[in-house]
């Protein structure tokens, strides 16, 4: 049991560090003018995201990540080269230059591609679960997706949560309360006491957790995902944390007070946990970080060498039937 937990903790940590490094690299390219559009990072949210990813079973479960889920993506098994290729618009990537940055996925491999409109992907995950159940392939698989404090104010969020509960779907919804929706603080976003209270009226169990503590996140997701697998219906996990970056790289987050609560780097917390439990020495941690850095270097080099989209080769075809 302890070994399994340690293994999971390691996997999550590797995903967190890989995500941090990927985002730092791509942010550098953005500031050098090599990436168009924007760069949206999950700095400070890696533990909460990766913990979900490692609780899922790639190939069986569905995971529809959102804007700050790079760590969860890596933990779920998304190839880091999908990240670099999509940011750089490579034709070899899953979006082939047609969409960019975090708007990517491989829907036929259990990872729907998010659209920007918040809440929309919850309904999509519901549909994958509904269909699996109808086809008799659901088994004990689950569908997970993520949202933030701002996204819980959308109609789509409420419609989809209610529907998931009515249909008793094994939906796992992760709510990262990072205190600010772009610049808007919690007190302009919701008026209930705790963001987890949003689940109550839908009859959905809510699990609260310190989103900066990987060990706590793993424990909470483990309980929630297990409950969904066991037929307990939708589960909501609310993680409290602070986004340690702007909304995107263009944003200096000057609206976040210096003494804002939860200003904690979850990667440092995870490293303390390693040492406290004697799960890894500092040398071993350094080794893991070096391996993550190498993964990122390769992913970036690959994408940088890829061909860019050529309008002359673009089909401009929007339908499968060719209309």
């Amino acid at each position: 049991m302890a070994d399994a937990l340690k293994e999971r903790f390691f996997a999550a940590y590797r995903a967190m560090v890989t995500a941090r490094f990927l985002e730092e690299k791509i942010a550098g390219l953005y500031h050098a003018g090599k990436v168009v559009g924007g760069v949206y990072s999950g700095k400070g949210q890696e533990a909460f995201s990766a913990a979900l990813g490692v609780c899922l079973r790639p190939g069986e479960d569905v995971f529809a990540p959102l804007i700050r889920d790079q760590a969860g993506r890596v933990a779920f098994g998304e190839d880091p080269v999908d990240f670099t290729r999509t940011y750089l618009g490579s034709v070899e990537g899953p979006m082939r230059g047609r969409d960019g940055n975090i708007h990517r996925g491989r829907p036929d491999k259990g990872m729907p591609a998010m659209i920007s409109h918040l809440g929309a992907m919850i309904g999509v995950v519901n549909g994958t679960l509904f269909a699996k159940r109808l086809k008799g392939t659901l088994g004990d698989s689950v569908g997970a997706t993520a949202i933030g404090d701002g996204g819980t104010s959308t109609g789509a969020f409420h419609e989809a949560l209610n529907l998931a509960s009515v249909e008793k779907l094994p939906l796992v919804i992760s709510v990262a309360n990072n205190q600010f929706a772009y610049s808007t603080p919690n007190d302009r976003q919701f008026a209930c006491e705790h963001i987890a209270d949003r689940a109550v009226s839908y009859g959905i169990p809510a699990h609260k957790v310190d989103g900066t503590d990987l060990l706590a996140c793993l424990d909470t997701y483990d309980k929630a995902v297990s409950a969904a697998r066991a037929g307990g219906g939708p589960q909501l996990i609310a993680g409290t944390l602070l986004r340690l970056c702007g909304h995107g790289e263009h944003d200096d987050a000057s609206y976040v007070p210096a003494d804002a609560p939860h200003r904690i780097d979850c990667i440092e917390v995870a490293e303390d946990t390693f040492v406290k439990n004697a799960w890894a020495t500092e040398a071993e941690i350094t080794e893991v970080r070096a391996a993550c850095a190498e993964t990122v270097r390769v992913a970036l080099a690959t994408a940088l060498n890829d061909p860019k989209p050529n309008p002359a080769n673009e089909t401009w075809q929007t339908t499968a039937s060719g209309f």
């Binding site: 047609r98 591609a113 929309a120 999509v124 549909g127 509904f130 109808l134 419609e159 499968a320």
Partner: protein
């Protein structure tokens, strides 16, 4: 495949379109909560999983609640990800007496505006049946605009052999003429036929083209008809700003200017919300009388 929508299971749907289906196909005709956005999201997810979901909007008007899922999620999906979404959204469309502003709308032009969607607008029972089967077989999201006239008033001697029904994307000349063409779709086809019959009494032979699907839009058939008649009136029940009739006229002007003997004309509903009282409603949408009057002016040019 399965059908998901409000009141469609044991109740059989607001228009009884799914009457008896829940018993014949247990578990696959499912009542949904009143959550059009989440219903459409569910269809997208199910299509990703390889199913062919049908969503029934209780009225086309309410599809506006699902607008985001339809135009931003479903419509962009194949182009963005390469994964096709075979979804049919059935939309009871168009006006009926006393239905007012929120149970009468014709939404086809809104959806046709977006790349990635197919929009069917059958006028007859035969086409409603044949095009629905074709839409289900199609690998793309189809907005299937069923005029409520089809439920209440139109009859058919029997269902056609699906193979004999023209494919999606083909318009049909349903009445031959030589003096003018009316291009119409959905319920307006029937108003156009009545107008053509009225003008025939005066010796004018009016050709009527039923578009059948407005996206894809079969301009070959339209331009072929304009080549025969030299005069064209496009009729739609939707609001006049932009829309299907504007699209058809602009394409005729661009590609068939040399065929025209008179400026191409449009006739739509008025540019106001759809009124409740029958006196106002009848004066709001095109009718056989207003179509006939527009045709007389067109022929006199």
């Amino acid at each position: 495949m399965f059908i998901y929508g409000q009141d469609i299971a044991n109740f059989g749907g607001a228009f009884k379109a799914t009457k008896g289906l829940a018993e014949r196909f247990p578990g696959r005709v499912v009542d949904s909560p009143i959550s059009e956005d989440a219903m459409m999201g569910l269809a997208i997810g199910a299509a990703i999983e390889g199913m062919r979901p049908i969503i029934e909007m209780q009225f086309a008007d309410f599809s506006s609640v699902a607008f985001n899922q339809i135009v931003n999620n479903a419509a962009t999906h194949f182009w963005r990800t390469g994964v096709a979404l075979p979804i049919v959204v059935r939309m009871p469309s168009g006006g009926t007496m006393g239905s007012g502003p929120f149970h009468s709308q014709s939404m086809e032009a809104i959806y046709a505006h977006y790349p990635g969607l197919v929009v069917a607008t059958p006028a007859t029972v035969e086409d409603a049946y044949g095009l629905l089967l074709q839409s289900i077989e199609l690998d793309d999201p189809v907005l299937f605009c069923e005029h409520k006239l089809l439920y209440f008033h139109l009859k058919s001697k029997g269902l056609p052999d699906p193979k004999s029904v023209l494919p999606i994307g083909k318009a049909k000349v349903i009445r031959n003429g030589q003096h003018a063409t009316v291009v119409a779709y959905s319920a307006m086809v029937h108003e156009a036929i009545r107008a053509a019959e009225e003008l025939e009494a005066d010796g004018w032979k009016v050709e009527v083209v039923d578009l059948r699907t407005i996206k894809p839009l079969d301009m070959d058939t339209v331009l072929g008809s304009v080549a025969r008649t030299g005069r064209v009136l496009c009729v739609g029940e939707a609001f006049p700003y932009g829309g299907v009739t504007a699209e058809v006229v602009s394409r005729i002007v661009a590609d068939g200017f040399h065929l025209l003997d008179a400026p191409p004309q449009r006739l739509n509903a008025r540019d106001t919300p759809i009124p409740y009282h029958p006196n106002l409603w009848k004066a709001h949408r095109p009718t056989s009388q207003t179509i006939a009057a527009a045709l007389r002016e067109l022929i006199a040019f």
